[in-house]
């Protein structure tokens, strides 16, 4: 009798990194409890279920109840981490709003399966709205780390942070961006490659693609700075303004609708500080579809060459 190969359950996906980090941190955070809605294998929390079964609470396929119940668990002194796919977090956003944010609970939401990175499950499962929607909730912190290393660091950071957080992980194996010495701080972006002509500001899966785009641009003699903006809210205004001042042109890149997410946050920050031309790389207000994540990145124009093309375009608009 043969067993099936579970997809993404091993390898370098961000969800795996998150799941392993959570399990590794459980002893250090004795009040940590992890909430699952029958999707533990998908979100990475099967690791902590195995290592710390007493910390794992099953809610069944009922995301709204899980989300609001996290508020109650936080109220009695636990540190709840709500886990499901991004699109099912959206299903419970009003619960996150009232029972977590309005009540100022120290609870975390960690969403796997964001954006086109979801792949073959198709458009119904590919959440392109979460960064915008969760960013709009007063008091919500929104994070989207770039690789497994950063995800592990961000997992610790959100557990140490005192307040509601929404964090994206990712489904697909993801290239490594950061080495051993990488530091993560909530609210701080980082220049991970310097450049002077244009700044590429990216989060999540788009960070690796922005780095690849910068290389393509270098071949054309264009010096592109790359910023890893893992915290979408609060956005690192100072850094964004500095990049606008120093490079005069910005490209944002995210595995998300072009409306309201990282691009929106950067546009708001610049309009309030140093107005500058921006080209927005993201899914252009359409739903995704089935396909492999890399194919989809091309089909929906968020792959590296599109970031490079956006950079060339924004350079023409630069004063």
């Amino acid at each position: 009798m043969s067993s099936p190969a579970l997809i993404g359950s091993s390898g370098d996906s961000l969800r795996e990194a998150f799941g392993k980090a959570l399990s590794a941190l459980a002893d250090e955070f004795p009040n940590l409890v992890v909430l699952d809605a029958d999707i533990a294998g998908g979100t990475g929390v099967h690791h902590i279920r195995k290592s710390h079964p007493g910390r794992f609470v099953q809610f069944g396929i009922a995301e709204q109840n899980m989300m609001a119940a996290a508020g109650g668990m936080a109220a009695v002194g636990l540190l709840p981490v709500v886990t499901t796919f991004a699109v099912f977090c959206l299903r419970a956003i009003e619960q996150a709003r009232l029972s977590l944010c309005y009540a100022k609970r120290n609870a975390k939401i960690v969403a796997s399966h964001p954006g086109l990175d979801v792949g073959p499950d198709g458009g119904s499962a590919q959440c392109l709205e979460d960064l915008a929607a969760f960013r709009a909730i007063p008091g919500m912190t929104v994070i989207s780390p770039a690789d497994a290393t950063e995800t592990a660091l961000a997992t610790r950071a959100i557990l140490e942070f005192g307040g509601p957080v929404y964090m994206r992980t990712g489904r697909s194996p993801a290239p490594h961006v950061f080495g051993e010495g990488h530091k993560f701080e909530i609210g701080k972006g980082q220049i991970i490659r310097d450049g002077s002509d244009v700044t590429l500001i990216a989060c999540g899966a788009e960070v690796a693609r922005a780095l690849a785009a910068a290389q393509m641009l270098e071949a054309d003699g264009i010096s592109a700075r790359v910023v890893n903006m893992a915290t979408i809210k609060p956005i690192d205004r100072e850094l964004v303004a500095r990049c606008a001042r120093e490079t005069g042109a910005i490209v944002t890149a995210e595995d998300h609708n072009i409306h309201g997410g990282l691009g929106g946050a950067v546009a708001e920050a610049l309009a309030a500080t140093v107005p500058a031309p921006i080209e927005f790389v993201g899914v252009a207000d359409s739903f995704g579809s089935s396909g492999e994540p890399e194919e989809l990145a091309y089909a929906y124009e968020i792959a590296a060459p599109f970031i490079a093309a956006a950079a060339r375009k924004v350079l023409k608009r630069k004063k």
Partner: protein, 306 residues
């Protein structure tokens, strides 16, 4: 105002033990507390210029029993991990909660008359950040129950014996989240969780029966794995006895389906959907209502001229 029964802390600090009027039965004291709470919440809604009187009046007796007898809560213990928890899932009945809590010494009754005003701690719907003894913020139907369930589950995980109570409206039971929480509470065998249903047969617009039928209601809860008791929700003795049943039920959560009258105690409001809210009460209507509740001229003066 004369002294009223306060919460009787079971584990609270000794100096906190409330006064109990001698020679008056607990039941009579609770009924009196409920009557005064009804007066208070109508006065508050009058001053606010808006609010939901009908559903506040229907649950006053249950709240009086919770704060006046059943729950292990006391004013100085709002942070005590051993306290029982109450969540008003039908958050629009906030004035009833404030009034019951005021009767039990948790807040200043005069201050609670600032209901719904800018800067008041007495928000239109209960808010945990404004009042320490409010256990969570509510207002969106269905959510309070889930939060209460999270508390009950969390307390069990921590081996804390405190109990969790939550009050739901009947219309509220149409929210799917309620059945998610009901299923989860039974699955996790949360016998430290007790749900009260204010079964006043009316919701915002009209009767449950015309909006969205709920019957057979007891059968629904039984099928979802709950221990069910049905009572008259205005009968203080029945309420206390249902609590005793719930306390000895093990392995399953308990639901008390309390048959009530929306607008209870004020004839012009009883069973009239239009008094659900958000209504503005005139001074004349308020005086009539308070009089119907047995208020003296002096009490009316006290409540209305602040």
């Amino acid at each position: 105002m004369t002294a009223l029964p306060h919460a009787i802390p079971k584990n609270g600090p000794a100096n906190d033990i409330a006064e109990i009027e001698l020679g008056v039965s607990l039941e009579a004291q609770l009924a009196e507390a409920a009557r005064r709470a009804r007066m208070h919440c109508l006065a508050a809604i009058f001053h606010a210029g808006s609010g939901h009187p009908g559903g506040a009046l229907s649950c006053a007796d249950m709240l009086a029993c919770l704060y006046g007898a059943e729950m292990n809560v006391w004013p100085s213990g709002a942070d005590d991990p051993l306290r029982d928890r109450f969540v008003l899932s039908k958050g629009h009945a906030a004035p009833a909660l404030y009034a019951a809590a005021a009767q039990a010494g948790f807040c200043d009754p005069k201050e609670a008359l600032t209901l719904r005003k800018l800067g008041s701690k007495f928000q239109g719907h209960p808010h945990v950040l404004d009042l320490p003894w409010v256990e969570t913020s509510t207002g969106s139907l269905g959510q309070g129950f889930s939060v209460a369930l999270g508390m009950a589950l969390g307390l069990k995980l921590q081996k804390n014996d405190a109990r969790v109570y939550t009050l739901l409206g009947d219309g509220e039971l149409q929210e799917g989240e309620v059945w998610e929480a009901a299923m989860a509470a039974a699955h996790h065998r949360l016998d430290n969780l007790c749900v009260l249903i204010d079964y006043n047969k009316l919701q915002s617009d009209a009767a449950n029966d015309s909006i969205m039928k709920l019957e057979p209601l007891a059968a629904k809860w039984s099928a979802f794995g709950w221990a069910v008791t049905e009572i008259d929700g205005h009968d203080v003795e029945a309420i206390l006895s249902a609590f005793r049943n719930a306390a000895v039920t093990t392995g399953a959560p308990s639901v008390i389906i309390a048959h009530t009258i929306k607008g209870k105690g004020v004839p012009m409001m009883e069973n009239v959907p239009a008094w659900h809210g958000s209504v503005k009460m005139t001074r004349e209507q308020t005086v009539d209502a308070l009089t119907a509740l047995g208020a003296s001229a002096g009490e009316i003066e006290d409540l209305l001229n602040v």
